[in-house]
């Protein structure tokens, strides 16, 4: 087997991989290798031909491919090594990576530091166990997006979309523009699960019927989907008797969530946070396996690519530094937990030494929406007696929109002084 070495190996060339590789190079890693299983770099962005990318990163409203090209150009200028059409099959805790490609056969790669940036995948129909027949014409929204935007084929003519995730809403508009009919978007929750701007620009502007508190309870059709049965649901998501309605259609698209892609992370032995589905990381986006870092949607699912790039920079920087100087002195380490109305917090681990050096940004999502003023707080201890360390006002919170909180370096001293009682802090959102 051919064997390669490098300073930093980055698996995946989406916005996370590109930014991590670029930053690792800038921060001291001489030899950075970027591996991608597709023939093109850029990850999922290549199929996101709509705009809405790059406002924060480039101050411009770009399409997905344009955003990717900007980063690919940066990577090229930084003289990274790139291996595309190469898929990583395995990783172990000593960072030995095995990949396969047509051109090279099996390759073993032994990097001094590794960044995982494999992105995420969509939740398939099976995960919902929708009863009924199993005809052709059931796709995840992202697969349909790829078929339409990259391959140039239409999966159907008359669509029902289950789930109001961003990809589903964006596809509703895309398919309408392609001359197809989107007859319903059904969402089991009482609110949409994607971004408000997509509701306005993709659903309302195109008069596409949106049904909240509604789900698909049966798929019908022999060869191809012929109709779906939709039902309204109660608070426990149980179908309400007497609300069944048959909607004729030839395609059912699922936009019911994204899951971080972490097979390789598990193989490497990194601890997975059940709340995010991604590895537990520290403020430098290091996993609990020395020399292995994680960036982008493998850590938790982002809603804005600009945030992915920003977080991946941190991972790249840490990997570069690890190559130069080995693991930094961690100092006291604090565990961050999800408190009231918070689903998960990233990073899960905060090192005080790092906080002393500069601000650390926490990212988290609300469990349920609050359409009025709220406070996001970092607290020590539980309930009413909790000591509030930091409190930030927000006009509202919605599960679809990530909330961030920047911890000032000054907080480090306060936490150090609190000693053992500050080992475990919670983030909460209260009205």
């Amino acid at each position: 087997m051919r064997s390669l070495t490098c300073d930093v190996l980055v698996i995946g060339s989406g916005p996370a991989g590109l930014a991590a590789a670029y930053e690792a190079k800038k921060h001291g890693a001489e030899d950075v290798l970027l591996l991608e299983r597709n023939d093109e770099l850029g990850g999922i962005l290549q199929q996101c031909i709509h705009t809405g990318f790059g406002v924060r990163e480039f101050g411009e409203d770009l399409s997905g491919p344009e955003y990717a090209w900007r980063w690919i150009a940066r990577a090229r200028s930084a003289d990274l090594r790139v291996l595309s059409e190469t898929m990583v099959l395995g990783v172990d805790h000593s960072r030995r990576v095995v990949a396969s490609s047509r051109a090279l056969g099996l390759v073993e790669i032994l990097p001094r530091a590794l960044v995982l940036a494999m992105g995420c995948r969509e939740r398939p129909r099976g995960a919902l166990a929708i009863p009924g027949s199993r005809p052709a014409g059931v796709f995840t929204a992202g697969t349909a997006q790829r078929l339409v935007n990259i391959e140039g084929y239409m999966p159907g003519e008359r669509y029902v979309i289950l789930g109001s995730g961003d990809i589903g809403m964006i596809m509703a508009r895309r398919l309408t523009l392609e001359g197809a009919q989107v007859v319903a978007v059904c969402e089991i929750l009482p609110y949409i699960s994607g971004l408000r701007r997509n509701l306005v620009q993709c659903i309302r502007d195109f008069d596409i019927p949106l049904h909240l508190c509604t789900t698909v309870t049966e798929v019908r059709g022999r060869d191809r989907v012929e109709s779906v049965i939709v039902s309204r649901v109660d608070e426990q998501w149980r179908p309400i008797a007497g609300t069944r309605q048959e909607i004729p259609c030839d395609t059912l698209l699922l936009s019911v969530g994204l899951v971080p892609e972490n097979e390789l992370t598990r193989m490497a032995g990194a601890t997975i946070d059940p709340a995010t589905g991604g590895p537990v990381v520290d403020e430098g986006h290091g996993t609990d396996v020395p020399g292995i870092f994680a960036a982008g949607n493998v850590v938790h699912v982002y809603d804005l690519v600009d945030d992915v790039s920003a977080a991946a920079r941190i991972a790249g920087r840490s990997a570069g530094r690890y190559v130069r100087q080995g693991a930094p002195e961690a100092g006291q380490r604090i565990r961050l937990r999800a408190g009231e109305n918070v689903r998960a917090v990233v990073p899960q681990i905060l090192g005080l030494a790092a906080l002393e050096e500069g601000p650390v940004v926490l990212q988290f999502r609300a469990r349920h929406p609050v359409e009025g003023p709220v406070r996001a707080e970092l607290v020590m201890g539980e309930g009413a007696g909790a000591r509030v360390l930091l409190s930030r006002r927000h006009r509202y919170v919605r599960p679809a929109e990530m909330v961030t909180m920047s911890l000032p370096p000054a907080l480090a001293a306060e936490l150090a002084a609190a000693g053992d009682s500050a080992r475990d802090l919670a983030v909460r959102i209260i009205e």
Partner: protein
């Protein structure tokens, strides 16, 4: 003029074709579907039963035991994955203890070796995730797991390799008769004459019997619904676990599959529509509830797929294997429900003997080759073998299905096999693309392109399972008026 026409290319018909292809005979294997094994053979529990539960003296008992004993040989010759891992029936109450002892005695009567009764604590150590209320189990060492799709297409490919002819998308609509005798079949592709006609048409065997003027035997389709779980669930399930059986079914079991997933099911509901393969909320709920009684730690979020199989439940309760006097030239296999998969190689040998006794001349062909090699399974090879394969054909270096690690080379090989994969489902059964946790989300666009290229079709013509099951319907930008 054929010597033998076999109606139905399920696992039974395929093994009959293979067993007959050993002799100097003109054989035609017919199926109405777009691929072999598209009936009950594609949707069952895939267990090679030991044979402890069939009624002593029945065809089921005899052919189960005989079939079971053939699996090393058959799977070895045909390159089919098989694991004689043993199976358990688990008791959870005092009454179950008696049932287990009954099954044990019955098994001994059926001539089965390797049966043992296991105590509750011992069972818990063999299956750490099992319910606390386990009181004991019956272990059948000769039980096993097989790849049911491969058991069928491998036998059919081997038959074709030995000169049998296969016609797919060919539906038998009636029989050609000379007086009482059956002398061939009428199909949507014309008439075919033969000296012998074998009905091995699964749930449709009784319809064909009626078409041949034979009444009295009926088949009631009995639905079995299943869940398939992610490979990760394998950590919680080590063994094949049946609950104690009821009079109508073997109950909801929890089992690993030969490919490393976990499967739960089946239910047992009589229905009247032989094409109804839908799953139901009640059925799926019953599957989950039943499975949790055996392994309480199973998680519903591990579900990646549900499906349904139809048992060809016959009115006599036993396999019917008969060459009725009143219809010379016709041989009937009907009511081949469980353990039909296990029995299939033995049923085939029995059919050969019946035809021989009825006067069909069987001369061995010197060129007969019992061996068949499947396409390489990249994910199952050692790194050195993987390297050698990619060196020979670089397409084996390109991974098409990320969850199951299937390569472009395998997809291409399946499109050009002895029985080519012409639909997405046929490809799935031969290569496992799209059967993992993302259920085709990743591979589908790639597979469409490769299949179209290899089969000389447009992606618009590729179907999931034949008929009108097209996957994509038009090019973008082409809007109808």
């Amino acid at each position: 003029m054929y010597d033998v026409i076999i109606i139905g290319a399920g696992v039974v018909g395929a093994h009959i074709a293979r067993a007959l292809s050993r002799y100097r005979l003109r054989i035609l294997l017919l199926d109405k579907a777009t691929d072999v094994g598209d009936g009950t053979t594609k949707a069952n529990t895939a267990i090679v039963h030991a044979g402890y539960d069939a009624k002593p003296g029945s065809n089921k008992a005899r052919l189960n035991v005989a079939g079971n004993a053939l699996f090393e040989q058959v799977c070895g010759e045909l390159d089919v994955e098989f694991d004689r891992c043993g199976t358990y029936v688990v008791g959870v109450s005092e009454e179950d203890r008696a049932t287990l002892e009954d099954l044990y005695r019955r098994g001994r009567q059926n001539g089965i070796r390797g049966l043992s009764l296991v105590g509750g604590p011992e069972m818990r150590s063999r299956e750490p995730g099992i319910t606390e209320s386990v009181t004991g189990a019956l272990f059948a060492a000769t039980g096993g797991l097989v790849d049911p799709f491969a058991l069928c297409y491998a036998a059919a490919e081997n038959a074709v390799g030995n000169g049998a002819e296969l016609l797919l998308e060919t539906e038998v609509q009636g029989f050609l008769r000379e007086d009482d005798a059956v002398v061939g079949v009428r199909t949507n592709r014309g008439e075919f004459r033969s000296r012998w006609t074998v009905i091995s048409a699964g749930v449709h065997a009784d319809d064909l019997m009626r078409a041949a003027g034979l009444d009295g035997f009926t088949i009631t389709p009995r639905k079995g619904e299943y869940f398939v779980l992610d490979r990760a669930a394998r950590a919680q399930v080590r063994n094949v676990l049946f609950p104690c059986p009821t009079p109508v079914s073997k109950g909801i079991l929890v089992t690993p599959t030969i490919h490393g997933n976990v499967m739960l099911g089946p239910t047992a509901t009589d229905i009247d529509d032989k094409e109804n393969l839908s799953t139901t909320p009640e059925g799926l709920n019953e599957v989950l509830t039943g499975a949790l009684k055996l392994i309480p730690g199973l998680e519903s979020r591990q579900i990646i797929r549900s499906f349904t199989g139809l048992r060809a439940s016959g009115s006599t309760g036993d396999f019917m294997i008969d060459a009725p006097k009143e219809r010379p030239g016709l041989l009937i296999l009907a009511g081949i429900e469980s353990p039909g998969l296990t029995a299939s190689p033995a049923i085939a040998l029995e059919v050969v003997e019946m035809l021989r006794e009825a006067g069909l001349e069987l001369q061995e062909r010197a060129e007969y080759v019992p061996l068949r090699r499947g396409i390489p399974r990249f994910s199952q090879l050692s790194p050195a073998e993987q390297e050698a394969l990619i060196a020979r054909d670089p397409r084996y270096g390109r991974i098409i299905c990320r969850c199951e690690t299937v390569t472009e080379g395998e997809v291409v090989a399946a499109c050009h096999g002895a029985i080519p994969a012409r639909t997405y489902d046929a490809l799935k059964r031969r290569t496992r693309v799209g059967t993992g946790r993302c259920q085709g989300g990743f591979d589908l666009p790639l597979v469409l392109e490769i299949m179209a290229r290899e089969l000389g079709l447009s992606p618009l013509e590729i179907t999931q399972k034949g008929g009108a099951s097209n996957i994509v319907v038009r090019r973008t930008k082409e809007v109808a008026e």
